[in-house]
């Protein structure tokens, strides 16, 4: 994108600031900082196609995970069924607005925005076009990273199930399995994504 930048061949470690020369990496490998050991950059294989495939799968799974029943709880002849959003609703009903917002952000909003952002960036790229505002979109995706906590949420679900298993019958719904698969596809999408796509570094890509 900026082949004219005089410092394009340099890289400074983001954890210790050691200045180094950026070298072309073979696909599927990564470069470590010789001083502090941090991963400096990677060259991912077929980044565009693979990330797009995982993101399309994530889109479908996200819809299933958030619409179908997540699990149901049966006790004394009464059944209580819930979806992922039920926890947010109940926190709101009990007047815990900040907690409701946090759970909503971590389990639904941040993952949804990440998937949407990736689709917005990758689909036009696939057809040889650069979408408008590609850099701000990429920054948003990166910024959302730590606030998308589906895998932590899943662990919370498992602990809740174990806590309740002694007092009631728990039945897992379709959304539970879709959500588990969604964790795998979104993790795969971020591990195949190469930021070289954003900067249009075709030379690093091929």
């Amino acid at each position: 994108m900026h082949p004219a930048l005089p410092e394009a061949h340099l890289i400074a470690c983001h954890e210790c600031d050691l200045l180094q020369r950026r070298a072309a990496l073979p696909p599927g490998t990564r470069a470590h900082c010789p001083r502090c050991g941090t991963v400096l950059y990677r060259h991912r294989r077929d980044s565009l196609d693979r990330t797009l495939a995982w993101t399309l799968a994530s889109t479908a799974l996200f819809v299933v995970a958030n619409t179908l029943p997540f699990m149901s709880f049966e006790m004394g002849g009464r059944v209580q069924q819930n979806v992922i959003f039920s926890g947010v609703q109940e926190l709101l009903a009990q007047d815990y607005l900040p907690l409701a917002a946090l759970v909503f952000l971590a389990s639904m909003l941040a993952p949804a925005l990440k998937i949407a952002g990736l689709l917005y960036v990758l689909l036009p790229l696939k057809f040889g076009r650069r979408p408008l505002q590609i850099v701000p979109t990429y920054k948003l995706i990166r910024w959302l990273g730590p606030w998308s906590m589906m895998e932590v949420y899943m662990l919370g679900v498992i602990v809740a199930i174990i806590k309740l298993s002694s007092m009631a019958e728990i039945v897992l719904g379709t959304a539970f399995f879709a959500f588990s698969a969604l964790i795998i596809t979104t993790t795969a999408a971020s591990s195949t994504f190469d930021s070289a796509l954003i900067w249009g570094e075709a030379d690093l890509e091929s």
């Binding site: 994108m1 400074a12 050691l18 941090t38 006790m75």
Partner: protein, 207 residues
């Protein structure tokens, strides 16, 4: 081995592009030539900002552990649970593996995170030359594990949505949960406002 800053170069926080640091009387006002983000040699005001967030987290840690995070009402009898008593219940009901997991995520991790950050801040303050590589590794670990402490909050949100069978059993959230979530968020933001490159900025480490 020289750092970019020593050579008057700065790398963009957002995209990593290295460029010449432009000096101005009031700090740096230059923008990244590739992505237009404002450039800084180091994260601005890193030490003071991290201390403030860390101290706020430590203060909030007290109500987070003293106040109940949820209460279970079972056939009319209400029983409040704190973070610690929740772990005790898991141990008592014969779930040691889960109890250890929750103990680790909601007590050990936040504690180690706060102590670790305080240690890193002090080590930078006293210009420590001791094991910079391990201190960088400690920082990386603090950044990585922090979010797992949210486990308890998510568990509570699921429990209260499932267990609402009026007369038989009801679970409701408690004020400790808000404080606890606050601790986790504050330590996450504190960790990201700390700049690990400060560890390496000591003269003795530059060759």
């Amino acid at each position: 081995m020289r750092s970019a800053a020593q050579l008057g170069l700065t790398s963009c926080h957002d995209c990593g592009q290295v460029s010449r640091a432009m000096h101005h009387a009031d700090g740096f006002v230059a923008h990244c030539p590739r992505c237009d983000a404002p450039l800084h040699l180091r994260k601005p005001d890193s030490i003071r900002r991290t201390w403030c967030l860390l101290i706020a987290a430590m203060i909030l840690y007290i109500p987070a552990n003293v106040l109940p995070v949820m209460s279970v009402e079972y056939f009319g009898a209400s029983e409040p649970d704190t973070i610690l008593s929740g772990v005790k219940v898991l141990f008592a009901t014969g779930q040691p593996a889960v109890a250890i997991l929750v103990l680790f995520a909601s007590i050990t991790v936040p504690m180690l995170k706060m102590l670790g950050l305080a240690y890193l801040l002090l080590s930078v303050h006293f210009k420590s030359l001791w094991r910079p590589r391990d201190r960088t590794r400690l920082y990386r670990m603090i950044e990585l594990v922090g979010r797992w402490s949210m486990l308890d909050i998510f568990m509570i949100s699921i429990l209260i949505a499932l267990v609402k069978l009026d007369a038989i059993a009801t679970i409701s959230a408690g004020p400790g949960a808000t404080s606890f979530a606050g601790v986790v968020i504050l330590t996450m933001v504190a960790a990201s406002s700390f700049d690990p490159r400060l560890i390496w900025d000591q003269k003795g480490l530059q060759r």
